[in-house]
């Protein structure tokens, strides 16, 4: 399990918060491949410039036969609301890299992404993950009438689960207000409702199973399609300061 979760990003800690590092040398097991390093913490810390540049290049221009990421995931990385192309900005790099690994190995089957991921080298996958983790992009405002009842219902399940259905609350794992819990857990806040509904449905039907222990499948199987829609609509509208910025 460990060996598949590879490289990430090395963010400088010094700029982060005084006191965290001083006074305590954090040892690193020397037998590790130092390329397999840390987690990304927030997008506010300065990342490794060379890796980011490489990631940006792949994202913008593609690599070899592979089309560029921006073709589907948009120029800023914010995807679209169709359900097929999720927002990538600010997701934990470790998580993005794992998804690309899983697309490559078949652990997460997908018509489009499997080929894309398989055409990228390990280092390319890492670089592009790092790049997207460092981005912030404007929030795409959902159009149409606000489904207020759905949002309320979704909020309740997100925070307090459902005793009737045996559903744990999403906040248990998905971080403060669904903003994620690096390295492993992606944010839901600000992600497209259609994309999340699609993924929950895949979890439920067993078409996706690349998390540990079948956690998300178990959860999705306790949900009705209405629950899935409600939670997803709610989270799409939760502001996520880590991954969004105002439109210029």
């Amino acid at each position: 399990m460990n060996t598949r979760h590879r490289l990430l990003i090395c963010f400088a800690l010094a700029a982060f918060l005084p006191g965290h590092v001083t006074g305590q040398a954090i040892p690193v097991d020397q037998s590790y491949d130092t390329a397999r390093d840390l987690f990304n913490m927030t997008v506010d810390t300065p990342p490794d410039p060379a890796m980011l540049a490489r990631g940006q290049a792949i994202a913008t221009h593609g690599a070899g036969d592979v089309q560029s990421c921006i073709t589907c995931h948009s120029v800023g990385g914010q995807g679209d609301g169709s359900g097929s192309f999720p927002r990538l900005t600010g997701q934990p790099a470790w998580y993005l890299d794992k998804q690309l690994d899983d697309y490559t190995s078949g652990a997460r089957p997908d018509d489009l992404m499997t080929t894309v991921a398989q055409s990228l080298s390990e280092d390319d996958r890492a670089a592009v993950s790092a790049y997207y983790a460092s981005l912030a992009a404007p929030l795409r405002v959902a159009r149409g009438q606000l489904p207020v009842n759905e949002i309320q219902k979704g909020a309740a399940i997100a925070r307090a689960g459902s005793p009737e259905k045996g559903l744990p609350a999403c906040t248990n794992c998905h971080g403060p207000d669904g903003t994620g819990n690096p390295p492993s857990v992606p944010y839901l806040a600000g992600q497209y409702a259609n994309y999340m509904v699609l993924q929950l449905d895949r979890w439920r039907r067993g078409k996706r199973g690349n998390d540990f222990g079948g956690m998300m499948s178990a959860i999705a199987r306790k949900m009705t399609p209405e629950d899935m829609r409600a939670i997803s609509e709610y989270y799409e509208r939760v502001a996520n300061p880590l991954t969004t910025k105002d439109p210029e």
Binding site: M1, N2, H5, L13, F16, L17, P18, G19, H20, T22, G23, Q24, I26, P27, V28, D29, Y32, L38, F39, M41, T42, D44, C173, G175, P176, D177, T179, N181, P182, P183, S184, V185, A189, F212, G213, M215, N240, P241, L242
Partner: protein
Amino acid sequence: MNTGYSRRSVLFGLGAVMVGAGLPRHAFAALDSTPFSFLSGTEARSLALLCDTLIPQDDFPSASQAGVVDFIDLQLAGGYGRGEHLYLNGPHPEGTPEQGYQSPMPPAKLWREGLAAMQTLIGPLEGQPQSALDQLMTDLSEDKPELAGRVGGKSFFTELIALTNQGYFADPIYGGNKGYAGWHMVGFPGAYGYYTDTIDDDNRPYRQPPMGIGHEPGKTDFSTKG
């Protein structure tokens, strides 16, 4: 009980003894307009000196810099101080150490009397050299001094060290552990624990910065919360 003192004016009035070398890392600026709920100014100042003897400033904040005085103030003003989880029925004969807390006083009263008794021991705590405060603490822990009033030295010391420790390391929603000072110091990631993927990553340091119960995404310092 609303005593109307602002934290900053009370605590920073102490001068060099408390602030120590360099600026405090975690200031009380945001709380200036919030008075103490239980402690008087004198009590707060004494308490800051006592707490900072237990947890002094080094590469990491001292107890008072991390908000421990605020924490204790709120605890004593609330359910803990009132003894909401204490069986207080009498009579109250003294017991053996194995029989635990037997004081007839709820903690708020014990603290009030204890802090007052501190003043009778070596005079006002302010202005005392740190060595005298260290000696006082040692004596308290060994139950040595004859404290005025009904509070034993050891029983007050037990409360003092327990609440100081709690204030340094509890979730910041309780007023202490400002900016996650305590959690940064040891490397504790906080209230969001998802370690399924990393539990058996042998010897890999986990550098996720802390997130508490009231964490605002994107903020690493909790001091803007009241």
